[in-house]
């Protein structure tokens, strides 16, 4: 079975609306109160540790995504995808079509979700990404799905251009909509061709549906209303086990996506939506205002793909990508060659896909990608260190200052920092796109915001509760308030402050994987790509280093914590 690290459907277009995404390590951040490890001690080493950390980024290699803007005449076209396999594949095809014509391309694969990808497109942070008309209508325009495919395409083209100057190129030729599938044998036995047929036979059948589909109005509830579907039982199954459960006969009906590679793999019968219940989800390249204005040639090249991909082709390509585990670059190149859009000799450039040959072992896989892995690790460290240092620079003084404030005011301020933790990361990232675009800057700001709470909480508690007898004695013997803070409270609080920094650091190492959703790179890149392409090795090649990095950071800061503990308290 494939390993899934997150909610069950990375394979298909994101139609789920806001905030639903894979957010590694974030939930643990919400219990930051629990970290208080009450030991007390000296401040100098905190400062020392922080200074060392400041120097580290200087030693880091050049970030892999660092972009200098070339002269506008030959400006690099920024191509993005959303974090699922088909989106990667289409984006890769866009990229190769342009590259084959000598147009430079920058790939920002796996952007978090519709909000982030579209936000990036609208604000010019990216130039093009593949989107689905139904998603544009429901998730971006927030309109009820109605009308046929042509009407929906017309609606989104007009509205997007009018509102944002964003252009939908003519559809690629296939729809990726919901698909209800049964085993071929079931279809034969009950003579099922359409969803109306299924409704008739449904009392004899058990449905295995994703929890998402069971809940959405355009899922099971709507389907029940439109067709009078009454399955004998409905079982909630995650994506990862759904097809296997169907193949083994545990359930008879599943929900899927019309271009899903699994439909091809398990040789399933897809039932026709004869009443047109599911909204049309035509795939198309969506082009941002700047590319449209400044590089009509690139737009024209992209338009060559319009109408060239049918459902059967897409299903086969997705199968090669997701089931057979072929590299996305190769699948894209083969498809383009087939369409005559790529000459036979032009080799695809390495990309987010599995381009390198390997001996099948995980170690071999990782070794073959060691350069990329190191770049990801370095980028990850950069994100963690910079955001953490900025958080320390703000949260420690703030925690100290709050000790002087009224306790109720201080608690309110700290709770405010705590509330930041509860903002879904995708929502936060999406919110920042208009201000900071995509890439490293918004990721740093998000990570910074998420690290504030544990540090400010521990600093405040540590300084407030530091050795009450010692503080009283120091005051009574003539230390000024500043001296009490500097010579008594801070040294005694230092281990607790350091513990807060350590907590924040470990959380940040985990949370930094979400930077991949906004094109900032790091170890989240292989995780997001691996999830999208159902490639366990790729996921692990990001997840294992991230876990090791968390352990390493924890151990290093543990040493710092010991060092800042004053001798008299060790």
């Amino acid at each position: 079975m494939k390993i899934r690290l997150s909610s069950p459907r990375p394979l298909s277009p994101d139609r789920r609306g806001k905030g639903e995404c894979f957010i590694p390590g974030l939930t643990s951040a919400r219990r930051a109160d629990a970290y208080a490890r009450v030991r007390e001690g000296g401040l100098r080493a905190v400062v020392a540790a922080i200074s060392i950390a400041f120097l580290l980024p200087l030693l880091l290699s050049r970030p892999s995504h660092a972009q200098q803007q070339p002269p506008s005449s030959s400006r690099t076209v920024v191509i993005a995808s959303k974090p699922f396999g088909e989106s990667y594949l289409l984006a890769e095809m866009f990229a190769q079509v342009l590259e084959a014509r000598g147009i430079r391309v920058d790939r920002r694969m796996g952007l978090g979700a519709t909000e982030i990808a579209f936000g990036a497109l609208r604000t010019g942070a990216i130039d093009v990404y593949p989107e689905y008309t139904g998603t544009g209508l429901t998730a971006i325009l927030h309109e009820e799905p109605r009308g046929d495919a042509g009407a929906v395409f017309g609606r989104v083209s007009r509205e997007f251009e009018a509102r944002w100057g964003v252009h939908w190129l003519p559809p690629l030729g296939f729809e990726n909509t919901y698909a209800i599938a049964v085993r071929k044998e079931t279809a034969r036995r009950y003579r099922l061709k359409t969803l109306s047929d299924l409704a008739r036979a449904s009392p004899q059948l058990t449905a295995g549906l994703t929890p998402d589909f069971i809940g959405r109005p355009d899922g099971l509830p709507g389907l029940t209303k439109a067709y009078g579907l009454r399955p004998r039982a409905v079982r909630s199954l995650v994506q990862a086990v759904k097809y296997r459960a169907l193949a083994e006969g545990a359930v008879d009906v599943v929900d899927g996506y019309s271009t899903d590679g699994m439909l091809a793999k398990y040789d399933l019968a897809v039932l026709e939506d004869d009443r047109g219940f599911f909204p049309p989800y035509q795939a198309a390249a969506m082009v941002g205002p700047r590319l449209w204005r400044e590089q009509p040639r690139a737009v024209a090249e992209l338009a060559r793909l319009s109408g060239r991909l049918d459902v059967a082709t897409m299903r086969q390509l997705n199968r090669r990508l997701e089931v057979d585990g072929e590299p996305v670059g190769k699948v894209a190149a083969d498809a383009l060659r087939e369409m005559g859009l790529l000459r036979g000799d032009s080799a695809p450039r390495a990309s987010a896909g599995r381009a390198v040959a390997d001996d099948g072992s995980f170690a071999g896989y990782v070794w073959a990608r060691r350069g990329e892995l190191m770049r990801n690790v370095m980028r990850h460290l950069l994100l963690v260190l910079v955001s953490l240092l900025a958080a320390v620079a703000v949260a420690v003084p703030a925690g100290v200052a709050l000790e002087r404030a009224r306790p109720t005011a201080a608690e309110a301020a700290i709770r405010g920092a705590g509330v930041l933790q509860t903002i879904p990361s995708i929502a936060l990232l999406a919110f920042m796109i208009p201000l900071l675009g995509i890439g490293v800057a918004p990721a740093l700001v998000a990570l910074w915001l998420y690290s504030l709470y544990p540090i400010i909480r521990n600093t405040y508690s540590g300084v407030r509760d530091a050795g009450p007898e010692a503080v009283q004695a120091a005051r009574a013997l003539g230390m000024s308030p500043g001296q009490v803070l500097r010579h008594v409270r801070l040294p005694l609080a230092a281990p607790l402050i350091m513990a807060g920094i350590r907590t924040a650091a470990v959380i940040t190492v985990g949370t930094a994987t979400l930077a991949a959703f906004i094109g900032a790179g790091g170890l989240g890149d292989p995780i997001v790509a691996g999830l999208a392409l159902t490639d366990t090795r790729m996921i692990l090649s990001g997840a294992i280093p991230a876990a090791l990095l968390a352990l390493l950071v924890d151990a290093l800061l543990g040493l710092c914590e010991r060092r800042v503990t004053p001798g008299g308290l060790r």
Partner: protein, 250 residues
């Protein structure tokens, strides 16, 4: 140091202090003459610690006046005042992250005294601790009696003329306490220090103090020498206190 009639080195006049609804001090007056040792005796909550801490302005009083060396403390810089007045807190209050020598050198160091380490070493010797043996230790490495000695040394290191002590021997076992009482008494007399100390032990007060002030509910019941107190207790409360302590007049 002056001739009669002089105000005391320490003088509280009509001092009142409330904490919320509860009255800690209710019009208390007390004078302490130079070189004198006065014990503040009373039950928990009688106001004795609050009164003690008026003299280094750790207690901000509501009304009345407190003078130290003739100067009103309400107009004095509290930090400067505290560096002039020695203080021994309950349970020592040593800074746990500082060595013994650094703890003892605290006040001279605060006063920017270049000879702070030498003064600290000297003060350690006064209280019977070898600076070479104990100076580099951490407070947690000391016994309770040693910690209390260090706290006394710390109060004396800057050679203050006035020392305030808050139940300085309260947490010690009987033998250690007796030892420390004796050595403190000798040291105080040798250095000619004016001292006020808080205790709930009338025997300790009788042993160390020239005069005893008995406090109850934030008021002073009686201030007198041990002999005067035992021979003519001013109130029933004082009489009871003496009886309970088996210190009835001979």
């Amino acid at each position: 140091m002056a001739d009669d009639p002089t105000p005391g080195v320490l003088a509280a006049r009509g001092v009142s202090k409330r904490y919320g609804q509860s009255v800690a001090l209710d019009g208390v007056s007390l004078e302490v003459r130079a070189g004198e040792c006065v014990a503040l005796v009373g039950e928990s909550g009688s106001g004795k610690t609050t009164l003690l801490r008026c003299f280094n302005r750790m207690t901000e009083i509501d009304s009345g006046s407190v003078r130290v060396d003739g100067a009103d403390v309400s107009t004095a810089d509290p930090v400067e005042l505290r560096r002039r007045v020695g203080y021994v807190p309950q349970e020592g209050g040593l800074l746990p992250h500082w060595t013994v020598l650094r703890n003892v050198a605290l006040v001279p160091w605060l006063r920017k005294d270049a000879e702070a380490p030498r003064r600290a070493a000297e003060a350690l010797e006064w209280v019977g601790l070898d600076p070479g043996r104990f100076g580099a230790r951490w407070p947690r490495e000391l016994s309770g009696g040693q910690r209390q000695r260090v706290a006394i040394a710390r109060a004396l290191a800057a050679s203050p003329r006035i020392v305030l002590l808050d139940e300085p021997f309260g947490a010690l076992d009987a033998i250690t306490r007796a030892e420390l009482q004796t050595s403190f008494d000798a040291l105080r007399r040798r250095l000619g220090i004016t001292a006020v100390f808080v205790t709930h032990d009338l025997h300790e007060a009788a042993l160390l103090a020239d005069r005893i002030a008995v406090l109850r509910h934030g008021r002073i019941e009686q201030v007198a020498s041990t002999d005067a107190l035992t021979s003519s207790p001013a109130t029933d409360y004082v009489r009871d206190l003496l009886a309970r302590s088996r210190m009835v007049a001979a």
